[in-house]
Symmetry: D2
């Protein structure tokens, strides 16, 4: 049996707006030029256009930058499922870099695998989009912690 | 028995210069303001001063940025042990974020655990330095691949 | 975009027999009572019936045993895609235990995510089957190495 | 700076006896023939003599069995630091297999890296002992959860 992507009910009706606002507060995402695309219950997409200043020594996007958007895609996917008064933090993640991050842009797709009350397990795939072709360049498995009663601070 | 930090003999006498040059070619490191400190056989330290534009929503340095310097510290530690005609790439890493990256600067210390011919296993600890105190904020385990006969391109 | 399960062409027409024979040579699988079920290109299922002597202190199947069959399901999924003269070994894996392994039996479903020439990235889900219900109890991400020209020894 | 092994104060004066009793309740450890050796605050050693029925297809101890004792060494190292009324469970672990598990016996050395209130990060090295020589065969990084107010059930 291959596991189906589960369908989740958000516990906060305003989850999408809350996730987008939280993303906007991360200056590190602005620094590298990342944007949030889709926000669905348990699923988030982040896009990152290629720029020379985010590359490594071979001209591809730096693996650490790939990790940043994978980590964030998984974290925000988890965030979309928690109540409004709850914030999330990354406990750990494991990332395999499977191909060079070569192309016009990257898209990181994060999804919740298992939404526990305290710990949420997620996964993310990062694709390098080149001439319209999506090539898997990284895949991640992650553990997120939900902190109840600790709404994120607003700027 | 607790494992001792092994002592390594570099196979390239100019390993330190080669590692520092490779670091300089990574524009992503310049973007976030990271500098390389110590380079020893199988051991590399990277420093990252706090700046507002690398923070997440709570004002701490972004976990993805922490991952970037951990990944790099481990990768360059591996790089210090390979022959001059060999380049390295990250196969995968696993990072635990154990405390907020709060302080004036971060220092990532990468070290080789097991130097195989093709695969090199490394580890890195990232410390947040606040008022002179070093606090562990992340710890990483990583697999690096050595590509023989593929010297890094020079700019 | 959610990644589709890829469709693989085996490079060894006798992959299924080769995988089943390799499984039979692992005495550790016999010790815990594991059986191989489906073998498809890039996909393998392993079943493990509950027995008291494979439990931990709470009466559930031991997490280490869950890890054994997850590791094996991913490894044999990779093995199904390599040429006949190639053997595989586990470089590393990362396993999240997401629920107690409680039920009549476990089923570990391993699948290839990315089949490189030297390194193969896989993933496995382990389900605890209780009263006919399949509950995810663990999920794994793994790196496998292919050793060309090293056919597995036969007993 | 290389991180020193920290020195921990146990919160349960009877931690050693509690850890040894918990180990004895794991039937899976008896099945494979594992014994607990040292139990110190934040540090546990587990020994596993070679036996044919725990091998894989090359005659070495099965990587999944190596994972079992690594997971357990880390988990019990964490267990040694929690209060008497608290039990622990493995959230996840990541294991690199760096050399064949070849020799007369294995020794897994688990140690706590960071003891949080809820989450405890550990690490374990597994050595294969052959003709008196200790060779690193696996290294692990792990996240453990402490469940306060849930003392382990006694048999």
């Amino acid at each position: 049996m291959r596991r189906e992507a589960p369908i989740f009910q958000p516990r906060d009706p305003d989850y999408a707006e809350r996730v987008r606002e939280s993303f906007e507060r991360q200056q590190a995402m602005a620094l590298i030029g990342a944007r949030i695309l889709a926000v669905e219950p348990g699923f988030v997409e982040i896009e990152l256009p290629w720029r020379e200043d985010i590359t490594q020594q071979h001209g591809y996007i730096h693996g650490g930058i790939v990790g940043m958007i994978a980590d964030n895609a998984g974290g925000f996917a988890a965030n979309s499922l928690v109540p409004a008064d709850t914030s999330v933090l990354t406990v750990e993640y494991k990332l395999n870099l499977v191909a060079p991050a070569e192309g016009e842009r990257l898209v990181a797709c994060g999804e919740v695998v298992r939404p526990g009350r305290t710990l949420i397990v997620t996964r993310a795939d990062v694709f390098a989009v080149k001439d319209g072709q999506w090539n898997l360049c990284a895949t991640m498995q992650q553990t997120i912690m939900a902190l109840a009663g600790k709404a994120e601070r607003k700027a």
